[in-house]
């Protein structure tokens, strides 16, 4: 338990540090919102006046603490461009992105576990080597490229799934699922090629352990022994990779949202960047960074439950 509390303290500390760095970085950017709102022909006095009105000329630390105080209670400020609260604009998009990343994580595991295990078990045979080679190839494919090909094949040619767009889960579960198949598939395939390589080497490690040999000696088949005694041991090392890959997945999701015209955080972020709507940029970047930190914190905690040797040390 103590170990978990220390992890929690580190986690909260890194949330705070991240918020400061993000605020500092967006404020250091040249050309603030006042410049943008008034355009290039504005007179300096007008810009100064607007800055005054928006509170931009107050000390940096005061503005940071004011923003942070809002964020803590769920108020990310108000967009100067749209005049609407940032929280209200981000929240539905956060849900969309969370579905995309969450389902892609599950999807990539569903592909990577059997593929990696097959490549490991058949590593001395032609088919196992072929599986490894194909998944290596997947590493070189950007997710948007995979997305475009999925659209060409399954949306344009076969017309099984819509080529883009999004329907909320709360409006129609069926439509929601149909619209997510291709983008989630594109993200999963690319992600799975990375993860399956880790699965392959983790499975090969397990095949050489004494407990795997014991499992075989009591009557398990190779696959049975792997499922029963390998999976949990593999998941311990795999968890680290999944935690690290979530960042890649978030970046991949931003691009995939563009390909499939999905109203997620990524597309909103890109729009805000082009409009110089720094309050929204700040908010979305903060949400993304905090999400990565949260997932890695959860990975750390999950270790304690998966590895009984750690659980005892923590007790």
């Amino acid at each position: 338990m103590r170990r978990v509390l220390i992890r929690l303290a580190w986690f909260l500390g890194s949330l705070l540090l991240a918020s400061f760095l993000i605020f500092a970085a967006t404020n250091a950017l040249p050309g603030d919102i006042a410049n943008f709102l008034l355009g290039t022909n504005a007179r300096p006095e007008e810009v100064t006046a607007l800055r005054e009105r928006l509170g931009l000329n107050r000390p940096f630390l005061v503005r940071y603490l004011e923003w942070l105080g809002g964020v803590v209670v769920g108020d990310f400020g108000t967009s100067q461009i749209t005049g609407r609260p940032v929280t209200e604009m981000i929240l539905p998009r956060l849900e969309v992105s969370a579905w995309l990343v969450g389902l892609a994580t599950i999807g990539s595991l569903l592909i990577a576990l059997p593929v990696g295990a097959y490549a490991a078990l058949r590593r001395r045979h032609l088919d196992g080597v072929a599986v490894s080679a194909v998944s290596q190839f997947g590493l070189a494919v950007p997710s948007f490229w995979a997305g475009i090909w999925l659209v060409v094949l399954f949306a344009v040619q076969l017309r099984w799934f819509p080529a883009g767009g999004y329907v909320s889960y709360w409006d129609s579960v069926g439509e929601w699922a149909l619209h997510l198949v291709l983008p989630v598939g594109a993200l999963s395939i690319v992600q799975a090629s990375v993860i399956s390589r880790y699965v392959r080497s983790a499975v090969i490690d397990v095949l050489h352990t004494d407990y795997f040999r014991t499992a075989r000696a009591i009557g398990w088949s190779r696959i049975g022994a792997l499922w029963r005694h390998g999976l949990r041991n593999i998941s311990i090392s795999l968890l680290t990779v999944i935690g690290l890959q979530v960042t890649t997945l978030l970046v991949g999701a931003i691009i995939i949202e563009q390909v499939f015209a999905i109203p997620g955080l990524g597309s909103r972020l890109l729009l805000a960047v082009t409009q110089r709507d720094l309050v929204i940029v700040q908010g979305i970047v903060l949400v993304l960074v905090w999400a990565v930190l949260l997932i890695n914190f959860l990975v750390d905690v999950a270790y304690q439950f998966l590895d009984p040797r750690l659980k005892r040390a923590a007790a």
């Binding site: 004494d210 407990y211 075989r216 000696a217 009591i218 005694h229 998966l306």
Partner: protein, 252 residues
């Protein structure tokens, strides 16, 4: 007819011959010690009998267990035999158990895997008590890292004998244990192996002499000497055996 009959057994890994035309027999309550240095082919021989060699190994010759030919046996049928008709005890009790699973569940698994055939419902705790574990309930609920080396090896012995196999193959079962525990485990093995055939693989003459009367000595994949363990120690015929005896002189 003996319970285990090995004839002309040869194991190749590519061009390397690991076991070279080896033959021996063990009666249904007999014991045979296999002595040799590492690389002599003694472990490969025992793994070949259990059918647990890697897929790169090429096995020829004959291994008959209770009249059934094992060389070339289909994996599905081999699997049925392992853990029920023949079982193994390995060297490293620390790593031979799954670190993420409670010991009791690992033992219960051996029963469950062969339930249909054996038809017996034995409790895990009774089995742990049988191998001399004093608090079987606690040990059953523990993870491997929470037990001593001796307790772990006892748990592995329980797993090996739980389905009353006709043949138990012990591959260096005491090598990783300290001397006092080694004595206890050898005593336990002597007891639980009385009514079945056993192969006892070790590099240590003194250990093998504790449990076996008959031994074979292997070098470079061949049997170089065999006979009664005391005769072999008293009058080693082969030069390699003589060196082995001389090296073990202090412990004999």
């Amino acid at each position: 007819m003996s319970f285990l009959e090995v004839d002309d057994l040869t194991v190749r890994f590519g061009d390397t011959v690991a076991v070279d035309h080896v033959g021996f027999a063990v009666e249904d309550t007999g014991r045979l010690g296999i002595i040799g240095a590492s690389g002599s082919g003694k472990s490969v021989t025992s793994l070949a009998i259990a059918g647990l060699l890697s897929e790169t190994a090429r096995v020829t010759g004959s291994i008959r267990l209770d009249g059934q030919e094992l060389v070339g046996l289909r994996e599905r049928e081999y699997r049925e035999l392992r853990g029920s008709k023949l079982s193994m005890i390995f060297q490293e009790p620390m790593t031979a158990l799954d670190p993420t699973m409670r010991v009791g569940r690992q033992i219960a698994e051996v029963i469950a895997l062969h339930e249909r055939r054996s038809g017996k419902r034995l409790t895990v705790e009774a089995e742990l008590a049988r191998v001399g574990i004093r608090d079987p309930q606690r040990v059953g609920e523990s993870f491997p890292h929470q037990l001593s080396g001796g307790q772990r090896q006892r748990a592995l012995i329980a797993m090996a004998i739980i389905n009353r196999p006709g043949l138990v193959i012990c591959d260096e079962p005491t090598t990783a244990l300290d001397v006092l525990v080694q004595k206890q485990i050898l005593g336990l093995l002597d007891e639980v192996l009385t009514d079945r055939a056993a192969l006892f693989v070790s590099h240590d003459l003194a250990v093998v002499r504790e449990v076996c009367r008959h031994i074979i000595v292997m070098e470079h994949g061949r049997i170089v000497e065999q006979g009664d363990v005391d005769d072999v120690i008293a009058t080693p015929e082969h030069e390699y055996t003589a060196r082995l005896v001389a090296a073990a002189r202090g412990t004999l």
